[in-house]
């Protein structure tokens, strides 16, 4: 136990003081926190759906939950059930075999709801394009509010995209 405590204290709070290149995250984070307070009473609940991705975008969505980006401090929380969600964060392309599950998840999310398409593949199918197995971007199946391109999309771009969805007039 003593080792655990020592490691915790030794580590301290690693949550960004950001390196200069990512100064923008602090700015985005501040705006995000403010917008979430105003529009969502301080708590934005997200359900992540992998509709067919290569799992690259999932890694970066994990990263915004790590102690350095620590998206919970802005009021962002990932939930297990679409029933609690304000926002669906969907990675793509939408595979034919996931189409029905994606529609069901969308329908299980109570309105008003926001849908954010993540990654090049979520935006337009990316390298997988449209084929017998891939339907292309998320908007081929459900309405999308905001698109976040990138392969995979970076943590900074993710936070920016979520902000754009929360605070429409960015």
């Amino acid at each position: 136990m003593i080792r655990i405590l020592r490691q915790i204290f030794r580590t301290g709070i690693v949550t960004e003081p950001l390196p200069p290149a990512e100064e923008e995250i602090r700015v985005i984070g501040g705006k995000l926190e403010e917008a979430i307070k105003r529009r969502f009473r301080g708590s934005l609940t997200i359900r992540e759906v992998d509709a067919g991705s290569c799992n690259g975008c999932e890694l970066e969505i994990h990263a915004i939950n790590n102690p350095i980006y620590n998206c919970e401090r802005f009021g962002i929380h990932f939930t297990a059930s679409p029933r609690f969600a304000d926002m669906l964060l969907v990675t793509g392309p939408v595979s034919r075999n996931m189409e029905i599950a994606l529609r069901r998840t969308y329908n299980a999310t109570p309105p008003p709801k926001l849908v954010v398409a993540v990654g090049d593949c979520g935006c337009n199918g990316g390298i997988f394009g449209e084929s017998y197995a891939s339907l292309g971007g998320i908007d081929k199946v459900i309405p999308v509010d905001v698109y976040i391109p990138g392969c995979p999309t970076t943590p900074a771009a993710l936070l920016k995209g979520i902000l754009k969805a929360v605070d429409g007039n960015l």
């Binding site: 759906v49 991705s53 102690p67 350095i68 997988f128």
Partner: protein, 521 residues
């Protein structure tokens, strides 16, 4: 060894080809009725089945062909058999080799060849709402047209009896992970059977390769499974370099290895954290994620991408390292190994964690061998398999890679293999930075000759990745077979689960951490 075993049984019935590269990978064609004899001979020679796949060879004027690839030690041997168009059946190998079970369901579903004698011909990856005669891997199939949906129902394995109930999970899971369906039959808390159903993220990758040029293909290979982007790009590139009979500069090999080992450390760190987190020890997740993020940032700074995606291509690499970069990595590794060792001590001494991870989700060595598992899963269950050791490319041939092998086959063993591998990767990276030779980064690749094939096996962080590519009549990609470690290791999870309690499933699953995308393709 393997070639002798084939010759002893089949004699002149096995026709060897010179058109398979590298030529150290022996390939022969046997008559269809002797396909199982070849498998028996391989089984007697202690070989494992590495992959089984089918090709449509009508562009060459032939019919279909089925290939089985066997491995023993550092040897690979491919047995091919021809299947006529008007009688698309071949003898099933499932009774000799268990992993053929899934490979053949896949061949049946996607190529429309019937494995005669296969015990379970339910579709795999192809869903019940696809038209039955849609076989995407056939050349007559038009990949750009959407498939209509038809009615159909999947026949699940049923367990019956007093108190048996079912828990369906997925495809959309509770966490931020990929989709797949698991169906548990349980009595009380104890799981009596687990059936996996995968295929949700099938994106038609193998078919898509056929519309790409050899150079474009590497981008797609890098997206077969995003967390293994480096290893897949290397495996694809090596297969293409083999078929084009081209040697790449020594420095390019060393840089690839540097990227590959960094990918291994980053993913293992994430896994160790996530395994502990699933045993309610969140401390480790946050500590490990912090270290992983440090690595990803260095990657971005030095190589221009957090996961070093698209930095490997057929012919070489597109990113280099200079003296400052070396210093930076060495500094990072010092920090990493100091902190990592502290965390390992904490893991080792935490009795409540030990209570969860020991004796949970056991895959016994006999079963691991029977299922022909690879990578971390195999090494945690007593199989000494590692391409870095058995099929080394430079610089792995310059030093001995210490491969950890444990025999308990439980969650702890799979976590501990990762711990040891991180230590080893740190050592390897230090060696690379000290000894990397000067030279150019890439060479041009010639167009492969028609009707040749190339093979490559690379040890990614999950395990052995195999690519087999075939050039068509104009030298284009006729077929690109991808065998991610997940294709075989998912079977291991299914076998490790019965007897465990339902709440331990996430923990067991995390300790395997197989790729859905790499399996579904």
């Amino acid at each position: 060894m393997l070639k002798e075993a084939i010759d002893n049984v089949l004699g002149t019935a096995a026709a060897y080809t010179e058109r398979q590269f590298p030529q150290s990978v022996v390939s022969c064609t046997v008559p269809r009725e002797r396909f199982v004899d070849a498998a028996k001979a391989m089984k007697r020679a202690y070989a494992l089945l590495a992959a089984e796949w089918a090709t449509d060879e009508t562009p060459f004027g032939g019919g279909f062909a089925v290939y089985a690839c066997y491995r023993w030690g550092s040897e690979y041997l491919i047995v091919r058999t021809e299947v006529p168009v008007d009688d698309p059946t071949f003898p099933s190998l499932t009774k000799k080799y268990v992993p053929a079970y899934r490979f053949e369901r896949q061949i049946h579903s996607l190529m429309g060849l019937v494995p005669a004698g296969h015990p379970d011909l339910r579709p795999w990856i192809k869903f019940e709402d696809w038209p039955e005669d849609s076989w995407p891997l056939r050349k007559t199939f038009n990949a750009s047209t959407p498939l209509p949906r038809v009615n159909g129902e999947y026949q699940w394995v049923r367990a019956e009896g007093e108190g048996v109930y079912e828990i369906p999970v997925g495809p959309v899971h509770a966490g931020i992970i990929e989709p797949g369906h698991f169906r548990f039959q349980a009595v009380g808390e104890m799981i009596v059977n687990l059936e996996e159903r995968l295929g949700y993220v099938h994106k038609g990758i193998e078919k898509r390769f056929e519309s790409f040029s050899w150079q474009e293909g590497v981008k797609l290979a890098g997206r077969v499974s995003g967390d293994t982007t480096v290893a897949h790009s290397i495996a694809y590139s090596m297969a293409v370099e083999a078929i084009a009979q081209c040697n790449i500069p020594e420095r390019a090999h060393w840089l690839r290895t540097l990227f590959l080992e960094r990918e291994r450390i980053a993913n293992h760190l994430g896994d160790i954290g996530a395994i502990c987190n699933d045993a309610a020890f969140a401390f480790m997740l946050y500590q490990a994620m912090r270290l992983k993020e440090m690595l990803l940032r260095t990657n971005l700074e030095l190589f221009g991408h957090r996961f070093i995606m698209d930095r490997v291509m057929p012919g070489g690499v597109t990113a280099d390292i200079d003296e400052n970069g070396k210093k930076e990595i060495l500094k990072e590794l010092d920090l990493l190994s100091k902190d990592f060792e502290r965390l390992v001590n904490i893991y080792d001494e935490n009795s409540s964690l030990e209570d969860r991870v020991r004796d949970t989700g056991i895959l016994i060595p006999e079963r691991a061998r029977e299922l022909c598992t690879v990578g971390i899963v195999a090494r945690a269950s007593g199989l000494n398999l590692d391409c870095r050791l058995q099929n080394p490319f430079p610089p792995y041939d310059r030093f001995e890679v210490n491969v950890p092998v444990l025999i308990s086959g439980d969650v702890h063993a799979r976590a501990w293999v990762r711990v040891e591998e991180i230590r080893e990767s740190i050592r390897i990276i230090r060696f690379i930075l000290e000894n990397i030779p000067d030279g150019s980064l890439s060479v041009n690749i010639a167009q492969p000759s028609p009707d040749t094939s190339g093979f490559a096996a690379v040890e990614g962080w999950r395990g052995e990745i195999i690519y087999w590519v075939q050039a068509g009549p104009r030298g284009e990609i006729n077929r690109c077979m991808v065998r991610d470690p997940s294709s075989v290791n998912w079977l291991g999870l299914e076998q490790a689960i019965p007897g465990n309690i339902v709440p331990d499933f996430p923990l067991c699953n995390k300790s395997f951490n197989q790729s859905y995308s790499g399996h579904d393709l």
